[in-house]
Structures are given as C-alpha cells and as structure tokens.
Amino acid sequence: MTDTAQPALTKKDFASDQEVRWCPGCGDYAILNALQKHMAESGADPAKTVFVSGIGCSSRFPYYMNTYGFHTIHGRAPAVATGVKVANPDLDVWIVTGDGDSLSIGGNHLAHILRRNLDVNILMFNNEIYGLTKGQYSPTSPVGTKKKSTPMGSIDRPFEPAQFAVGAQATFVARTIDQDQKHMSKILKAAAAHKGTSFIEILQNCVIFNKDFYATTVEKKVRPERTVDLSAGEPMIYGAERDKGLRFNGFTVERCAAEEADVWHPDTPSHAPAVLIAGMRDDPEMPVPVGIMRSVEAPIYETGVNAQVEDAIATKGAGNLKDLVYDGEIWTVD
C-alpha cells in the first residue's frame, strides 16, 4: 500500500449493522469473529467481497458481514456463486454453507463446483445436525443418531466431507475448529491464498441439538489427544505430549510413536493419501485430522470460460449484431 491509500480497515469495518441472531454459545459466533478478523488482516476490499450462502443456521452469515452478500436458496450457493464469479472474476467470493445444505440438498452443486475448480472459498460449518429445522440427523451424523425424526437411530452411513471433496477433485481441502481461532486464522489464510476452490470444513458446535459430538472430539480439553493437525512437510504428530504419530502402511493409516511418524504431503499426485487420512474419522481409535488435507493446482473454471470468449474475439474479431443477423444465405426481395 502507498501512503495515499485509505486507512486500513479493522475487524469492525467488516461487521454489518444487523443484530446477530444465532443461539447463545453457538460456534458460528467464533467463525464470524475469525472471518471479520481475517478480512481486516488480509486487507480485503468490502466492495469487492461477496458472501454467498444457502439455507440453514450457517447461511445467515452474509447478513452479518459488511460486504456484498447473497442469501440464496437451500443447497444452491455454489451454483449462484458460479454465476457471480464467471460474470465478474475480480470479485472475492466466499460461500458459507452447512453439512445439510452442502452435502444433502446441495450435494450435486458441491461436487460440481469442486471439479470445476472455481476460484472461491467454501466454508462448510459441520455440526452433524440440522439446526434450523430443530434437530434432525444430517448426512454427516454417525449411524445410530437418535433424534426426533430417527427415534430408533439413523440407518444411513454418513458422508466424510473431506473424502467427498477429494473425490470430487477438490484442489484445496482443509478442516478446522470453530473455537481454535489461531488454527482457523491459519487455515483461512492458506485457503484465501489458494487459487481454485478451497473447501474448508469447520467443526462447529451446535450447543442446542448436538453438543455431545463436539465435546467428545474437538473441545479444548480433549483436542490434543483426539485431533491431529496436518501441515505440509511436517510429521503427523499429535497428543498432549506430542508423543504419538501416524504412518501409512499400504492402504491403511496406523498409529505409531512420534519419531516413526510419516511426513505429511497434501500435494501428492494421487489423492489416495488424503482419502486415507480423511477416512480416519470412521475409526474412534484414531485422531480426527484437521489442517490441510489436500492442496494442489489445477486450471480455474472462470478463467477458462472468459479466456474462450477472449480467444473467440481474437480469432474471429469482435462480433457485431449485423454479422449475427445477416448471416448465412440472405436474399433480397425488391
């Protein structure tokens, strides 16, 4: 920035004048706080920033950001964001969604935005529950989840979001935790720097309908033993004493002593390691992976779409309407 630049914006400048209406204690407050902070620290321009959301508790998010925002319809935020970003690639587009919005009703659009590799950031708040409709199991709830719509327990196997994303050829997949502000800041920064679709799953506490999930996995006191933070080029080590490690053994991941841990690479040509690491979530004996699970480069969709228009103009010349209307065989009647 030069001396004549506008004074730097603060976190407060990114807060809208709307009263935040999540339940007291909801993990969404922490995410909102981290995002506003990230925006200020990264020098974001509110005029060029757009938050697009679907439907659900998480999707109220755009109303609280003093940027452009579009609260769309259930599951469709990736499709709306695709139109926004293709129409104006200069905009910095963030999608805010939840586990139901993105993996149930919007599963198709999530898969397709990831394979297209639009240059946007997706924040997927995963609380493993439907909150806004008052507590039904979600596509990420474990088998046997007993809620009002499943009094005898849910039957269907959950999606593992990172595996879904990696399977859809996502170029950046990470996981973070609402209450771990430092970790979230680091992940947001990496996601913002990534060119292409960044998919960030944020484990988020629904204190009303599903607090047990959170308490047993990622709450601060269990976090060191129950999670492993993955960083590129770093050994996969966890535990309060940093004494536990993970290593690959064929197509499995196994626990080992810290010194025997494998070094983590999120940019391997094959996405198999990311699939295996993400799959640890199914095993209660294994730590929940957080951090960056996948980070590779691929062509960006909106760049390609607009480049074709530019190429067509360069090769055929900028078309005028007359060329289009008076095209083909024309004849005159006098």
Binding site: P62, A79, V80, G83, K85, N88, L91, N108, K322, V333
Partner: protein, 625 residues
C-alpha cells in the same frame, strides 16, 4: 378409378405444370437423414424465393430400432408462390423410405396425392419390423394415391459402383438420391446442396463425391426414367420487399438474446442444462462467444437458473433456457429472482407434458404454470413467441422488460417454433431502440437498495461498487434490503411485486385486430398457433363469415385494451394446444365476455381445417340460438 402408377406411365412429353403451393412430407427411419433432406429442400426453396414453413416431426429416441414405427422421423414443409402461414394440413407428396414411414404417415396424405416409396425396403423382414401383415404396396392401402415405386437402395448402389465407400456408407447416401429426385420433380436447382455438401464434409472427398453423385443420380432418374408424368414448378413468392434469410426458431431466439443484452449494454451470460427441445439455444449461443456471450453448461436445471441469477447479481444479464420438466425444477429459484428483484430471462421451449411427456412434440401447456407456478404470490411477466421470424424481437422484448422492471421474465416458445424454419425478413438494426441499464453507483441520502422508481423497479447495484455494499436474499425484506418479518411490510412488498408486474402492461401496445373491428366472432390466439389461426380466419372470411382475429405476444400481464376489443364481438374463440389455459386466464381477468375454448393436445399442431370447422360450428350454433 385406378390412379396411374409408375408402371403404366408411358413415355412421351413431360409437361411442366405450375403450382401455387406444395406440401411435401419426407419420412424415413431416424437414421435415414430425413431432417437433413427436409432442411436441404427448405434451404434450396428459400434461396429460390418461395415462401415456406416447416414442421419437423421426429422421435425422442436418437435411433429407435431400425425400421420400426416408433423410429420414424418426418419432415414436412410447405413452399409456395404466395404468402403462407403454416406447414400445411395434408401433404401433397409423401416420400416414404420404408414400410413403417409409409404406415405412420399415409393417413395424413391428401386424397389423390403422390406417394414415393423406396420399393427396396419392402421385403418380408422390413414388413415384419413395421408390423405389417401384408405388403401395403399390394394390399390396397394405397388405393386412391399415385404411387411411384423407386428401388432407391439398388439405384444408389449402381450410381456409387465406383465409390471407394463401404456398402453401408453408400447406402447412407440414399437421402440425397431421394432429395435429387424431389428436386427434379419440383424444378429446384442442385447447386445449393452440392455446395453445402462440400462445406459439410470438408476434407472427406469420398463422402462429398458420393453424396453429390447420389443427388445427381436422383435428379437424372426423374428426367430419364420417366417415373413421373411431368415436372412441377412453384414460382417465386411475392414476399414483402426486404432482405431475408431462412431461420429456425431456436436460432432466432438465441440471436435475439444477444441483441437484447447488447441493447441493455450488458454482457449476456446464458446458463443451461441440455434438454429437448431447448438444447440448441445453448449450442447456438456457445457459438457466439466472439459476440461476448458467456455460456455455462450447468450440472442440472436448478444450477443453471441459479448461476444465471448469480450472473445478474454480479451485473451481467443472466439467462437460462429449458423445457417443461426443467421449468418445474427451476421454480424455487424463480421465486428467488422475484424476491431479490433481479433481471433474468427464462426461456421455456414448451413440449407435451406432464412429466417427461412427449419431448419432441408440441404443446402450449406451460402457460398457467409460467404465470402462477411458484410458491407464494410470485408474479412474473410472460412473453410468448409465435414463429421463428418473431423470436428475435420478442427475445429482445423479454430482455427489455427484465432490466427495466428488475424482474425475471419467462419467454415461452414451443417445439413447433424451435425446430420450424421460415424466411425471416431481417430487421433494420439501427431502428432497434436501446434500453441501456443505469447501475446505481452513489449512495444518496435517501438511497435504499429496495427503493422504487416510477415503474416500481428497484435500483440495480452491482458488487464491486464502493460504498454500496448490501445483502439480499429470499427472505422477506424491508426497503433497506434488511430482513423483515413486519406484517405491514410483507403486505406492502407483496402488493408492490404484484403491481410492478402489472405495470409492465403500460409499456406494451394493445394488439391489433386482424379483420373487422367488430363482429360475431373473435379468434384469440397466442404462441405458435398464429399461422394456422390466421389462415383459418382468412378462409372463414373468404366464405363471408364475420370473424376477426387477435394475437397476444404478451400473455402476462395482459395488454391494456382487450376488454374493450372483446366487447365488440359476440364471442371469443380461444384455440390452444392445452386444456383451456388461456380461456381460464381470460375468464378470471376479463370475466364479462363469452369465451369458447377449443383445445387439442395430440402433440401435433392444429390443422387449418379443424379450426375452420370449429369457427363454423360456433357461428352456426350462435345463429341457431
């Protein structure tokens, strides 16, 4: 009386007879290239200077089992030396490439008409595939028609004896032999098709040569073999002076969308999921990238409209296109565009429904669902194209309404228009009135994101504009754009959305009455029935009946002045290819008139004679009453 056949035609003079108009129907297997044949005949006739109208009629299956009745693909065209409005009720000539094509189409042929059959395709196995117990060439099926049998398979093999192509590929030239034959009968020049083949098969010299040889062989066969009793000539039509091209509905529509966006000063962004019969709109637009057109082939119908909405939010002109089932899927997102008051053009190329229905057959049954088919009170203007040559200006009109009123607009077309072709009198492009969009860029003291201009349109702010940041969504909102559950606000917003769409009527002309200003009967049409109704009413008037006609291009809101027009007629006859949807609408909107619905949902357009008969029935009944 036994009509003459090819066998008993004796050699002699071949007279040249002038005809005013001819209807030909080409029919064959869906792999026989009948659409290409029909399109070539159309193109050549257009270049020759005839007026014309076409009716492609093909199965939804790309290649149904060979030789079966479901696999029959047809192409009907009428070409004429005078002004015509329809592809014709009954063909004068049926070209049938196999028994199935003959059986499916023979009932539509005019009595005494000509049937040209490929006699090589009437072997026992062919008859079995077509479910014919006896050979229709021998069992009396064709009594009363002039039958001309040509062994097309053998003739093509002979003509291409020296071609290096495989036998299978040689047989694929059958359609050009047939086309050549028809060119001879109707004295058409070969050059346009010869040239077209060179372009089409550029780099494949064997294919060019074989098809050209087949075309010439067919033409010469007419000349040499004396299959026919003479040649016919359909002189040039006296079209209105102007510059013309031949155009298909979906193509004119696509060009119109480009023009509409240009007149609005916006980049067009067309997002669509392939669906019959709307896919070619996407294909045409994808070919116009050098005109600044952005296209996205979306993952589904919902994504397509949502991306178009996103594009409009970002300050371009979002557009999407589909057919009936896709409209059902887009419903919720249409509501979002209504609630957020974003301009959007939604093309619906209607087809027979419900559900998957008959994808390649025509119907006008999405009228009421277009106007009303969304959750909540969700009004939206609806514009209806009636023929390929007005698709251009009505597509522009849809864009105009969308940006001037900040609203999504449905642009209705149908399968008859989409794939039909006719000469298009090309517009003077300088006469097109621009309607440039003014984005709101400054926050005046009383600025509100959902404030109103005199038409009730809200200001359009595009992301990227400093100091104007705002949030929108499908939740009910206050004028500030903030969420509001206030009861009075919801009442006011609902009333406003309703009135805004009603206000569109202030910007559209009252349609003109074709014929006398008053009388016994007014025939009201909308959409692709226009040519048929026009012809039927002209015929009725020629018989001295007191009938006038009116055609609606804006089906919602209805234009001003209809009430007064209707009051000058005893009754209003409303022919439609649905179960009385327009009648239902009119009875609700303008209840003081006598509406008589006349409906047909066979997947085929009305016949002129059907409408004429109904006009007569109504007039007789009213005279008797």
């Amino acid at each position: 009386m036994t009509p003459p056949t090819a066998q008993d035609t004796s050699a002699g003079e071949l007279p040249l007879q002038q005809l005013d108009r001819v209807v030909i129907r080409f029919a064959g297997d869906s792999g026989d290239g009948m659409q290409v044949t029909g399109n070539q005949f159309t193109r050549t006739s257009a270049l020759f200077g005839n007026d014309l109208a076409t009716l492609p009629d093909f199965p939804a299956e790309i290649r149904a089992p060979v030789g079966t009745r479901p696999g029959v693909s047809g192409f009907q065209l009428q070409f004429s030396s005078s002004d015509i409005h329809t592809p014709g009720d009954q063909p004068d000539v049926l070209v049938a490439m196999n028994p199935a094509a003959l059986m499916v189409n023979v009932s539509t042929l005019k009595k005494g008409g000509i049937v040209i059959v490929n006699s090589d395709a009437f072997k026992a196995t062919d008859l079995k595939k077509a479910k014919c117990d006896t050979n229709p060439l021998e069992d009396g099926t064709l009594d009363g028609f002039r039958v001309i049998e040509v062994g097309i398979n053998s003739r093509v093999s002979e003509a291409l004896a020296d071609s290096p192509l495989s036998n299978k590929d040689k047989q694929r030239c059958k359609n050009f032999y047939t086309l050549g034959l028809m060119y001879w009968v109707y004295s058409r020049p070969l050059e346009p098709t010869l040239e077209w083949l060179e372009e089409k098969f550029k780099g494949k010299d064997d294919l060019i040569a074989a098809n050209q040889i087949a075309l010439r062989a067919g033409y010469n066969a007419g000349d040499i073999r004396e299959l026919f009793q003479g040649q016919y000539e359909v002189p040039k039509a006296t079209l209105q002076p102007g510059t013309y091209r031949n155009v298909m509905g979906n193509q004119a529509l696509a060009i119109g969308l480009v023009a509409g966006a240009r007149l609005a000063g916006l980049k067009p962004v067309y997002c669509s999921y392939p669906i019959t019969p709307a896919s070619s709109v996407l294909e045409f637009l994808a070919g116009y990238k050098n005109h600044g057109v952005v296209t996205i082939q979306s993952e589904d119908e919902i994504a397509a409209i949502c991306s178009a909405i996103g594009a409009s939010f970002a300050g371009t002109l979002g557009m999407t296109g589909t057919s009936g089932p896709g409209m059902a899927l887009k419903g919720e997102a249409m509501g979002l565009a209504i609630s957020t008051e974003l301009p959007l053009v939604i093309v619906d190329v209607q087809r027979a429904g419900p559900s998957t229905g008959m994808p390649t057959k025509v119907e006008q049954s999405d009228l009421l669902s277009s106007i009303f088919g969304r959750n909540g009170d969700a009004p939206m203007p609806v514009v209806a194209i009636s023929k390929p040559s007005d698709a251009f200006e009505l597509s522009i009109e849809a864009c105009r309404i969308a940006v001037q009123y900040m609203t999504p607009v449905i642009l209705l077309s149908d399968n008859f228009i989409a794939n039909g072709a006719e000469p298009w009198s090309l517009p003077d492009l300088d006469s097109l009135e621009p309607f440039p969009v003014q984005f709101a860029e400054e926050k005046t003291e009383d600025f509100q994101s959902f404030g109103r201009d005199e038409k009730l349109a809200r200001p359009w702010v595009k992301p990227g504009t400093p100091g104007m940041e705002f949030r929108i969504g499908g939740l009910e909102k206050a004028p500030s754009s903030n969420i509001s559950y206030d009861p009075d606000n919801h009442q006011a917003m609902t009333d406003m959305r309703h009135q805004k769409v009603r206000n569109v009527a202030d910007s559209i002309p009252t349609p003109e009455v074709d014929g006398a200003d008053s009388g016994d009967l007014l025939v009201l049409g909308w959409g692709s029935t226009v040519g048929i109704l026009r012809q039927a009413v002209e015929n009725a008037r020629a018989k001295g009946q007191s009938v006038s006609r009116i055609h609606l291009t804006h089906v919602w809101p209805l234009p001003h002045g209809l009430d007064e027009i209707f009051s000058r007629f005893k009754s209003v006859l409303v022919p439609e290819m649905n179960v009385a949807q327009m009648t239902y609408l009119l009875r609700g909107e303008l209840p003081d008139h006598d509406y008589i619905p006349f409906n047909k949902v066979t997947g085929q357009p009305f016949l002129v004679t059907e409408v004429e008969a109904e006009i007569k029935r109504v007039l007789d009944e009213s005279a008797g009453a």
